[in-house]
Amino acid sequence: MTGLREQRPADRVLEMTLDGEPVKFTEGETIYEVAERHRKDVPTLCYDPRLEAFGACRLCVVEVEGVRNPVASCTTPATDGMIVKTRTAILEKHRKTLLELVVSENRNVEVDELSGYASQELTELVDRYEARTGRFAGKQSGTTNDADRNPFILRDYDNCISCYRCVRVCAEQEGDYAISVMNRGFATQITAEFGRDLRDSQCTFCGQCVQTCPTGALGDKKALRDAETPGEVRKTRSICPYCGVGCSVDLLTKGEKLVGVLPAMDGPANEGALCVKGQYAFDFVQNADRLGKPLIRRDDGELHECEWDEALDFAANGFKEAIAKHGRRSVYGVASGRAPHEAAYTMQKFIRAGCGTNYIDNCSRA
């Protein structure tokens, strides 16, 4: 796939006609991108704005004057003077037929919204086009791989529509190339190397594939634990508490319970990406074993709750005693990778200026 986005000198302003209105665009924009800017709401299933346009689902076809067949707007560059119609009776009929075909090969159109960020896309389009007609009945494609023993990613390819967004996000965004397309035609199937489980592949469990899946064929196993938990799913914007990158996340809660994490597509640091920790390692938040107060191990050998002033004094005395007894090089500091710059700076100041040694490191370096 040659990169339309790579060859984009965004300076010349050109004009085309979109549904009868003159609109401006810059060289290199696709028809779909221009149409999106003008809120034409052209339907898609294989499109993800972060990925190279692929042209598989054909729902985004539009009519271009002078061209016999409709063209896929996602892969067709807009050109000066082009006259485009995004919604005609014929186009809408093709879109409905395409969606009826998709419904006919898919087992479940309804999936829990906890499956993933894009999991409701197919359901919404099928409802918009009233495509649950039962026409085109026949064999269903895809074979579930829900026996994959990983704890994070549900692989229920019974619900796969072969848009390959998962394969493309894994290659183009994450650079893992852990999954690919095997076989061809109706027998097409998403696979890891040699059909293995994900944990025996190059997968890093970042969850990007789950979040871009438009049908819930790939699902968030951890969030889906709470599919039956009563209550509405609420989203709260936050920042991932792990490393210093500061990825934006939307925390999913039901009542008082944190049930899952979504990457924020508009997060300035991550633009929809997360790693395995930010995506899946949130169980500590409401874990019963989580510390609520400082603990000091007293002379009886047991840990006892105390107040912060006492705990800090106790720790400071410990450092002082160690330095007095064994010298300044008896202290070695390892800052947490979860600490932001300011905290990491304070930590090294404490070790260098406070303890008088350069024995300072950070766990992110490992």
Binding site: L59, H94, R184, F186, F194, Q202
Partner: protein
């Protein structure tokens, strides 16, 4: 001789153009099938992600992943052989691990069976023999030919025989006294158009590549003759390989290209040796290489063998396949003339197109244009097969009546039979029947009937044949070969096949027809490549010409399995 190590094989191919397919074939030949270890070695050697390589290998149906692998017979059960003993032969060879393959391009001499790298033919397990590709019969109409003009000359497949019968006169003429743009002008004036089926004017394509920026430019010969009922390129390559090589060299001269690749379908195993032998002879004689005909022109050729995927005849898929990528068609624009092999300006031309070039350059544009009937320019090879007395390759003047070819040249249908229908463009043009058999063999006339001439395959069905079954077999082929990228083709070919095999249960005739029509309309309007755009012509023409057979089929399907 000890078998080569993984590293020796990788070292042999790593620096060559388009290394993945030949490297996979090298492992396939050595081990008999592609083991996990072989794939891991290839992935590491060529720096391809292992999951990508695994997925891509499964796309090609002639790469085996387990024993008996390459040694097991592959038996043609294609659209012609399937009606003429292919399935029975497959059953007879089941004990040897035989598996079916779609049309293997030998419809004039059935039934082809590939065992290892040998192509056998026969109609029973006992009668399988090795036979050379049939030579086209002398033109039955006594008409002057272009690509077949020299093919029957003795020794034509050797360099000496080729030169003796006029070969390389065109290249000498071009290099000696024509400018590259002069060659393009001759091609443009001749009105030669792509003979692989798309019919794009050859001169226009060449000019676009000549003018495109980027180096090295590439010439690709599309010899992935996968369309069922087509076997002309096989005859040309086996009996006149130097014509293809000279055509490619002329193309290189006209466009400033230095690299040439021949993408040959897997099902022609013996053609590999014929082409490579001819390329070696040409190179040794200074007709290829660093100083062609002493002119300083540089151009060399490489044969790359496919592995069983019809879609690789689509130029975007073909280029992806050469580049070692998953062979999905490419989105256009950009087109190969600016962004082709390795993103460089590339022309993809069919074998017949390229073989037409030397005679046209040698004898002139007017000569070629005048070979056509009336207003039509030039000739076209028609591959005639099925229920006809003399199947074979016929070079016809464009514009002659189909009936002339069927009845006068090829002897008509068998004794006491009549022709019920013919296919056009192999299978891709669907059927012509009834009064529409009175067409002339040119695109304007055939397109007016909702079909197209395409690559020139015509399969004849006489009055014994069940046309719903014929349509089913055609659609099953398209479903089998659909790449799986675009939704309308991937699901549509499957759904139409199901409706033609009677597995849809109690649909009323009206509902059946409406479903077929709606799927077909959407496929024809929205599919991403020619496969999905053309496949519904099969059902369109079935419903148009054979409504009674369709009604009976739907009624039987509704009544349940017999």
């Amino acid at each position: 001789m000890p078998s080569p190590s993984d590293q020796e094989l990788i070292g042999r191919w790593k620096g060559e153009p388009a290394p993945l397919l030949p490297l996979l074939h090298a492992f396939h030949d050595r081990d008999g099938w592609l083991t996990d270890e072989a794939l891991a070695a290839v992935a590491a050697g060529l720096r391809i992600p292992i999951a990508d390589l695994y997925g891509t290998v499964t796309f090609y149906h002639h790469f085996s992943r387990q024993p008996p692998g390459k040694a097991a017979p592959r038996v043609c059960t294609g659209n012609v052989c399937g009606l003429n003993g292919g399935r029975e032969l497959l059953a007879a060879l089941e004990g040897d691990g035989a598996t079916p393959m779609p049309c293997a391009g030998r419809c004039d001499d059935m039934v082809p069976v590939i065992v290892g790298d040998r192509a056998l033919v026969g109609t029973s397990a006992e009668s399988l023999v090795h036979r050379a590709t049939p030579l086209p019969a002398p033109n039955p109409g006594g008409r002057e030919e272009c690509v077949f003009a020299g093919i029957r000359e003795p020794g034509r497949a050797t360099l000496a025989g080729y030169r003796k019968s006029g070969g390389y006169a065109a290249l000498e003429k071009a290099v000696g006294g024509m400018s590259p743009s002069g060659v393009v002008e001759v091609l443009t004036a001749s009105k030669l158009a792509g003979r692989g089926g798309a019919g794009f004017p050859t001169g226009v394509k060449w000019k676009a590549v000549a003018e495109a920026a980027g180096d090295p430019k590439c010439i690709v010969c599309n010899a992935d003759e996968g369309e069922p009922g087509c076997f002309k390129d096989r005859a040309l390559m086996d009996h006149d390989p130097f014509a293809v090589i000279e055509g490619m060299t002329l193309a290189a001269y006209a466009r400033g290209a230095r690299v040439g690749l021949i993408y040959l379908r897997y099902e022609y195993p013996e053609t590999v040796g014929i082409l490579e032998g001819a390329i070696g002879e040409a190179r040794a004689a200074g007709m290829l290489g660093g100083d062609i005909l002493g002119s300083g022109m540089r151009f060399d050729l490489h044969v790359r063998r496919g592995a069983g995927a019809y879609i690789c005849g689509e130029e975007g898929s073909l280029l992806n396949s050469l580049e070692g990528k998953h062979p999905f068609p490419r989105n256009k624009p950009p087109y190969p003339v600016t962004h082709g092999f390795n993103n460089k300006p590339t022309v993809v031309n069919n074998v017949e197109t390229l073989a037409s070039v030397p005679p046209i350059v040698a004898r002139g544009a007017d000569w070629y244009r005048d070979l056509g009937e009336g207003e039509h320019a030039g000739t076209k090879v028609i591959c005639l097969s099925g229920d006809i007395r003399r199947p074979g390759n016929y070079e016809v003047p464009i514009g002659i009546p189909l009936r002339t070819l069927l009845d006068e040249w090829a002897g008509g249908p068998g004794e006491g039979r009549s022709i019920q229908a013919v296919t056009m463009a192999g299978l891709s043009g669907g059927f012509l029947a009834g009064e529409d058999l009175e067409v002339t063999l040119d695109e304007p006339c055939i397109r007016a009937k909702g079909s197209f001439l395409g690559a020139g395959g015509i399969i004849v069905f006489d009055d014994r044949r069940d046309m719903v079954r014929a349509a089913h077999d055609a659609m099953e082929f398209f479903a089998h070969e659909s790449c799986g990228k675009c939704f309308p083709c991937r699901i549509g070919t499957q759904r139409i096949t199901e409706r033609l095999n009677g597995g849809t249960g109690a649909l009323s005739l009206d509902a059946w027809l409406a479903e077929i029509a709606d799927i077909g309309e959407t496929m024809k309007a929205t599919s991403a490549c020619g496969l999905g755009l053309a496949a519904p012509l099969v059902t369109d023409s079935l419903v148009r010409y054979f409504p009674e057979q369709v009604a009976a089929h739907v009624e039987n399907a509704a009544a349940g399995p017999a």
